[in-house]
Symmetry: C2
């Protein structure tokens, strides 16, 4: 969890929380092990938003979800979280 933004609400009143997730691991590519790092913008909607909004920056999580374009205007991918499991440091 690199950064967590405060809880906000959509015009319809649905809670939304945003964060930046930073991931590091080793992955296999073309038969060779390589170091991987990636940062993803992520959001949680509804009940999960309150969980995300109080997460401490620097805490480790395991998450599942799906990728979607940010908006009609910005097609950059955002990870929509379906589950968040806190691993340590929170």
């Amino acid at each position: 969890m690199a950064e967590v933004l405060p809880l906000r609400r959509t015009p319809a009143g649905v809670p939304v929380a945003s964060c930046t997730l930073a991931h590091e691991s080793k992955q296999i590519e073309a038969g060779l092990s390589r170091d991987v790092s990636v940062e993803l913008q992520a959001v949680a909607v509804g009940d999960l938003a309150a969980v995300l909004a109080v997460a401490a920056p620097g805490c480790a999580i395991r998450a599942t979800g799906f990728m979607a374009a940010r908006s009609m205007r910005s097609r950059s991918p955002v990870l929509h979280l379906n589950t968040i499991e806190f691993l340590e440091g929170n």
Copy 2:
């Protein structure tokens, strides 16, 4: 497969192919079904690069891989492909 770029080689001679993948589906978020669309930049390295480079734009694929930052300078996420399965239209 929205766009496929020609095969190139790294300075070390490793073949690399790049493409843009467009995805559409329905996903569940906060208990509600929603339409999702997303575009991801993707690359294939090594033997898989030659497979990707000859894919027809518009063809449907199922792919697996991992996300990694494009480079040290650009932290935008890129999907590194480990498997490509052609489904139709290729």
